[in-house]
Symmetry: C2
Subunit: 347 residues, 2 copies
DNA sequence: CTGAAAGCGCTTACAG
DNA sequence: CTGAAAGCGCTTACAG
């Protein structure tokens, strides 16, 4: 015995209409040279019967599954769901399904996740690699979304330019002492953002970096960042490298009785869901996920369509860097000059 | 011409070993009655050649794709990524892939998303329905994750019991006036949570509800919640129905110079990523996503395996309600009695 | 414009 | 224990 699907198939439509399966197939796909009338009749009948083409049959015949894999380091991390959503949207717009593979933070799990996708016969995959992971020999076309500074990258937000935006914004508000707050000193993304901020500083401006990962290594996870002390030292702007850190900084400062933005400014990165909702709302920088996803997916699909068979190709898009957009909200304001003066007196 | 995959297939292994494809298939699947020695040789050779079985061939033959669909209302909403991750984990643990379909908030899109999954030949799906959406006639086994109060539900966190936990916690701290803050009065989940809180109140406690959706309808999106006024009215506990609202309440109160937890307590729901990170860290209630996902997936897979062919079955699990767990952090503390007294004097 | 036929890779009932 | 054969549903090169 052989397994059969419940719904109608091409052959049922064909016999019930007294034509051949080839003609039905051609009529439905619009490829073959079938008379307009017949096409009409066939389409109608297929719709009536609720015909759903079998992906399995098609895949077996064409060697293409119509499915893309999406490899993520950790979908619970608030940045990734947006990417996943954008990828899914872009993929389904061009007729592809998306199979997810979450590596849950583990490097070994990433390799395993990739293998699982290959076994499922994906036509290609989008990989958002774990920090410092190099995707080596792939068995199908692969698009990588990472920082532009990562070699072999396909497309990414221009994190450096995002940093420039922040620096320009803070400069325009008259801030001179900027504390850059990141949570991972090894992250390419965070380093690019920090580099952008630093290189966007105007003469007379000065910055220092605070890496939370290092701080926590010494003082334990969840330790205070000591930001009130930094304010006393004269910092008036806290430029965090992600909205999660912005939130941490914002609430710690508020708890210490420091007013934002009257006393100091706080900025973030990524425009995560809470940014518009907290008080004061967060000034941040947003990446154009839809654009990035669309570029990644279309580059991938182009490669799939041209490459015959399934070879390991690293896909490269024409436009690699997608600009980030500054979103000014209430958490940043003019530098408090009175305070700055008093601080200078203190020094 | 017919498309061929790049890698080796059963037939190549068979001829190169001088045996039949049937034997190779049986050896690799461990099903057939093949001699131990041969099995060994075949497995070895297959591994050497890097054999990856074709899902398409298998699917066509067995009528099973080995893929589950996951329908989400909006993966960018911070609650869903955790579910998605848990589902993917549970599914891949039992050998299934997960195809995502994000309906992006739209009801029509949800139906369309379901259709896309059916077309891709999923063996079953997990649906986290949009508010008030009834999943009607499905064409494959379906598991639904929603509130237990939703009819036809498969498995869910016990939101009502979570509310009880919060109420018990606040009662234990001596709070008498509780403001329940939700953002959607139509949400079954939020109503269950609110109901649990109310029914867990001790004698002498009193609660009031603030629905942000209604407030914003009147005053515009992102309007202040007027919580400082509520504090003046004598509320000492702000029990929000999600951590996002907790964040909103927390920062608004802090901005107004109200100290948490010294002056008032704030609690949330869901233990989202920022809960442990903000100052003060958020007391909240966590659902056991892994458990929920595991129950949903295994119920689904059981149904798939027993149901011959692909029929529309609504899967029901034996254990429907998964308990929520209270996580006490610094945002909640003993009720400030001094303030309460002064408030009573004010009235 | 239409159809008969081959074949994608697999699994399984059956025969030996 | 092993193999020959059928067939899942589709697409496509070819013949008519």
């Amino acid at each position: 015995m052989t397994a059969s699907r419940p719904g109608p198939n091409l052959s049922r439509i064909a016999t019930s209409l007294g034509v051949s399966v080839a003609t039905v197939s051609n009529a439905l796909s619009g490829k073959g040279r079938v008379s307009g009338q017949l096409v009409e009749r066939i389409r109608e009948h297929a719709a009536e019967l609720g015909y759903v083409p079998s992906q399995a049959g098609r895949a077996l015949r064409t060697g293409r599954s119509g499915v893309l894999g999406l490899v993520l380091p950790d979908i619970a991390n608030p940045l990734f769901p947006k990417i996943a959503q954008a990828i899914e949207f872009a993929a389904s717009a061009v007729g592809y399904g998306v199979l997810i593979a979450d590596s849950r933070g583990d490097v070994a799990a990433q390799t395993e996740a990739i293998n699982r996708l290959v076994e499922r016969g994906v036509d290609g995959m989008v990989i958002i690699p774990r920090r410092a992971t190099r995707i080596s020999s792939a068995v199908c076309p692969v698009a990588i979304i990472d920082t532009p500074s990562t070699p072999g990258n396909t497309v990414a937000a221009d994190h450096w330019q995002g940093g420039l935006e922040i620096a320009g914004h803070l400069a325009g508000l008259g801030h001179c002492r900027v504390l850059i707050i990141g949570n991972n000193q090894e992250s390419n993304v965070q380093n690019d953002r920090a580099g952008g901020i630093r290189s966007g500083m105007r003469p007379g401006m000065h910055s220092e970096a605070l890496w939370i990962d290092r701080l926590e290594q010494e003082n334990g996870i969840g330790c205070p960042l000591g930001l009130a002390e930094k304010v006393r030292q004269g910092f008036t702007a806290f430029a965090t490298l992600s909205d999660l850190q912005a939130l941490r900084a914002l609430t710690e400062l508020q708890q210490a009785g420091i007013n934002i933005p009257a006393d100091v400014s706080v900025t973030g990165f990524d425009d995560l869901i809470w940014s518009p909702v907290v008080t004061p709302s967060l000034t941040t920088v947003r990446m154009d996920m839809d654009r990035i996803a669309e570029i990644a997916v279309s580059a991938l699909v182009d490669t799939i369509k041209t490459s015959s068979g399934r070879e390991g190709v690293l896909v490269t898009a024409a436009i690699e860097r997608v600009a980030m957009q500054l979103i000014v909200r209430r958490s940043s304001g003019p530098a408090n000059l009175a305070q700055k003066t008093s601080d200078i007196e203190n020094m």
